[in-house]
């Protein structure tokens, strides 16, 4: 039972490049979320999705794009990476209802 996986686990890129972070869950959860974690800011929601083809902005969506063509996948794209997007990115999923979220292991992204 793989649960929720993220790839890559570590990524170094340069300013201006496009980067896509992948998230895959095997539970068929309806909801999926992308967070970034930065010191002093805790977890901040970037985007979330209530179902395939339904996405919505979170607190800090600028500079990010998401899509959800299949229930199990929720990729996050940085269209033109900036140094301020250096962070640890977490994907999560939930059934809905009581909203217990289950997190992936994270992707540590460094933008040089």
């Amino acid at each position: 039972d793989a649960g929720i996986t993220q790839s890559p686990r570590y990524k170094i890129t340069e300013t201006g490049r496009q980067v896509t972070l992948m998230c895959h869950q095997t539970w068929s959860h309806s909801y999926m979320f992308w967070y970034r974690q930065d010191l002093g800011h805790g977890l901040r929601l970037i985007y979330y999705s209530a179902a395939a083809d339904i996405t919505d902005k979170g607190e800090v969506p600028d500079g990010y794009v998401v899509s959800r063509s299949k229930t199990e996948n929720f990729p996050l794209t940085l269209e033109s990476a900036t140094r301020s997007q250096t962070s640890v990115y977490f994907c999560a999923s939930s059934v809905g209802g009581a909203d217990t979220q289950y997190f992936g292991p994270g992707t540590r992204l460094t933008v040089l």
Partner: protein, 116 residues
Amino acid sequence: AQSVAQPEDQVNVAEGNPLTVKCTYSVSGNPYLFWYVQYPNRGLQFLLKYITGDNLVKGSYGFEAEFNKSQTSFHLKKPSALVSDSALYFCAVRDAWAGNNRKLIWGLGTSLAVNP
């Protein structure tokens, strides 16, 4: 507006002593409340949640939390701390009456250090 506060950035306890990690919240309706733990270089793991019912909620790894509506608090507790409990702890809340708003509001986290 919904909010969560974890008033302590860091908590230090000796192994074997009881521990408490504090969380207070503000929502307009009834709250759904959660505790998560994050070990170094790992994702967050669900510990426990309060939706309704008994104010004392028991969760994983011997943790429990007490919901106090009058004090709008949901403090995490454990009777006897282990060194392996050292981690970052997050409280989160959602307004039960938020309808289609499925977003959780997260605290900034409390770093727990259990000393041998």
